[in-house]
């Protein structure tokens, strides 16, 4: 009994980490592109895009989950198209959980990257251009390295947000053990089962430890990144 429970607990932890990692990695290119657009470009509808990126921060997560279900569900327009063209299915899969987490973490990711992009002295990029670097080279050798601290911060915030995601995930991909039942969902499930309190409590403790570790790691990594880029810690 005890062994089996530990296994399913571990499964939830493993799944949570997998979903969080996948969501961060997959959302990074989009997050960077959005941050770059918002930091560097002026275009009609910019404030609308800015608001849209921030929506997951203020909307109830269940709304995001439901909208994802409508769009990316098996019979949703986007879900159907993705299934037919790429064979990618989000509905009731861990990938769907990752998508929900990515969306919920996006505002944090974009905000952090945008701030560090705005802090870059644009003339640094001009200097690189006069030295012969084309736009993509400037991006790769100046803009991205200089915004690295922001990128790392954003990734860690979005990772932490993913670990705690509940509402959007359960609404979009349901609560399937081993597939979509991440740590928060597992805790919720145990609290609903008679006699599940010890397991719930154990997972809660684990959750606290995990978040604490993530925060400490983020502190350390951000400082390292800053040291690497600017040669000093803040």
């Amino acid at each position: 009994m005890f062994d089996a429970l530990t296994l399913s607990e571990l499964e939830a932890v493993r799944l949570s980490l997998k979903v969080a990692c996948a969501s961060v990695v997959a959302s990074l290119p989009f997050g960077f592109a959005l941050a770059w657009l918002l930091a560097r470009r002026q275009f009609p509808g910019k404030s609308l895009l800015d608001a849209a990126v921030h929506l997951p921060l203020v909307l109830p997560p269940v709304v995001i989950g439901y909208l994802l279900l409508v769009l990316f569900g098996r019979r949703g327009p986007a879900g159907q198209w993705l299934d037919e063209t790429f064979g990618v299915v989000f509905a009731f899969r861990w990938t769907g959980a990752a998508l929900a987490c990515a969306l919920m973490g996006l505002p944090l990711l974009v905000r952090a990257i945008r701030q560090s992009l705005e802090a870059i002295d644009r003339r640094m990029e001009s200097a690189a251009a006069t030295l012969g670097a084309g736009r993509l080279w400037v991006l790769a050798s100046v803009t991205i390295p200089l915004s690295l601290p922001g990128i790392v911060t954003g990734m860690l915030l979005s990772f932490a947000r993913s670990l705690g995601e509940f509402g959007a995930t359960i609404t979009f991909v349901s609560n399937i053990p081993g597939e979509t039942q991440t740590l928060p969902l597992a805790i919720y499930t145990y609290t609903q089962v008679p006699g599940g309190d010890p397991q719930a409590m154990r997972l809660c403790l684990f959750s606290v430890l995990l978040s604490l570790a993530a925060l400490l790691a983020s502190e350390f990594i951000v400082r390292r990144a800053h040291l690497r880029v600017f040669g000093d810690a803040h």
Binding site: R123, S126, L131, G132, V142
Partner: protein
């Protein structure tokens, strides 16, 4: 290499409309802050686009609104040394130096790494990060970085402005070395006339986005009507001279020019060396007769060529000394008392101690 510039560009406060051409080793763009100097550099570098005009270096056209030519900054091969250096903070000095070289096609690389490093004394700095460099060191690395991209033209935007007085002399010395040892034309932006006199052969005087005057430095410096643009305090004629003798005991150098010999104190130069020396107008006095028993060492006989007409308590007088113009700034009161008039024979007096290292440029 001939540099031809004819550009128009609207700015917030005024319209920049500048046309000039030059082929000196160093061309100075001189004017007060906000006159459009830096904008002009950005137009040449391609960081800003003119509304109309043409920019060419030698036979290479960088921009031409008539033919629709507009090379990207990275294709212009124009080096740019910014006021603050703008070294890439995440790279070491060595990586900064090699940055532009990496993007230069191998057949266009004329700048040799070891030579530039030696020229600018960068060897001890190579493994350091920019944040551990002093202001002067940063500027030297910025110079080296721009050069190692093997540019066809080097732009410098007040490279001394963010340095203290001691460092300025040091960087000026390195820029002189570059000018003399590396054959790349330089366009140098400054609002300090002594930098212009020291470095430049050609000067473009900018005022409110227009070219007020463009010509050889010693020509423009001898023109009375430009005195307000050059600066009332520092203005004065520039004399081209050759060191005839150095007297180590007295510390005086004897400089030969077409009008005679000028004695100056505290100017380091070798005998035979050619110099450009600025004689500040306010350091020159006028006497009607040759003074006797006077401490002033330089007394030149000359003829008044022009007396300034601008309002104020002082006037500038241009005195022709056997073909070399010298400007004297005296009070209007004295000019009236001596009844000075054009054509009159006078003596121009200059103290030998009124010169310093900042008044001299090595031609």
């Amino acid at each position: 290499m001939r540099i031809e510039i004819d550009v128009e560009r609207k700015l917030e406060s005024f319209q920049l409309k500048a046309a000039f051409s030059c082929d000196a080793a160093v061309t100075a763009l001189f004017g007060r802050s906000g006159c459009g100097k830096s904008t002009l550099l950005n137009l040449i570098a391609g960081l800003l686009r003119p509304e109309r005009g043409r920019i060419a270096i030698g036979d290479r056209v960088l921009f031409d609104s008539a033919s629709g030519t507009d090379l990207l900054p990275e294709k212009r091969r124009v080096g740019y040394v910014f006021q603050e250096g703008l070294l890439l903070p995440h790279l070491s000095v060595r990586q900064n130096l090699l940055y532009g070289r990496f993007f230069t096609p191998p057949q266009e690389r004329w700048a040799d790494f070891d030579r530039i490093v030696a020229l600018l004394d960068l060897a001890p700095l190579l493994e350091r990060r920019p944040r551990h460099l002093s202001g002067g060191e940063k500027q030297r690395v910025a110079l080296g970085r721009a050069l190692l991209a093997s540019p066809r033209l080097l732009l410098m935007d007040e490279p001394l402005a963010s340095l203290d007085a001691g460092r300025r002399g040091e960087i000026l010395y390195y820029i002189e070395r570059l000018r003399d040892e590396v054959r790349v034309p330089i366009v140098y932006v400054s609002h300090e006339i002594e930098e212009v006199v020291r470095l430049a052969g050609h000067m473009v005087l900018l005022s409110d986005g227009r070219v007020a005057a463009s010509g050889e430095v010693h020509d423009l410096m001898g023109r009375i009507e430009l005195r307000d643009l050059i600066g009332r305090h520092e203005g004065g004629a520039v004399i081209e001279a050759k060191v005839a003798a150095q007297d180590l005991d007295s510390g005086l150098a004897r400089l030969a020019f077409t009008g005679g010999e000028l004695l100056v104190a505290d100017v380091d130069a070798l005998v035979g060396e050619s110099l450009r020396i600025r004689v500040r107008a306010r350091d020159v006095s006028i006497a009607l007769e040759r003074p006797r028993d006077i401490s002033i060492l330089n007394c030149f006989a000359g003829r008044i060529a022009e007396i300034g007409t601008e309002p104020g308590s002082s006037v500038d007088v241009r005195i022709d000394i056997a073909g070399t113009p010298i400007l004297a700034r005296i009070t209007r009161h004295s000019a009236a008392r001596l009844h000075l008039a054009a054509g009159q024979e006078v003596w121009a007096l200059v103290k030998a101690v009124s010169f310093d290292r900042q008044s001299v440029g090595y031609a």
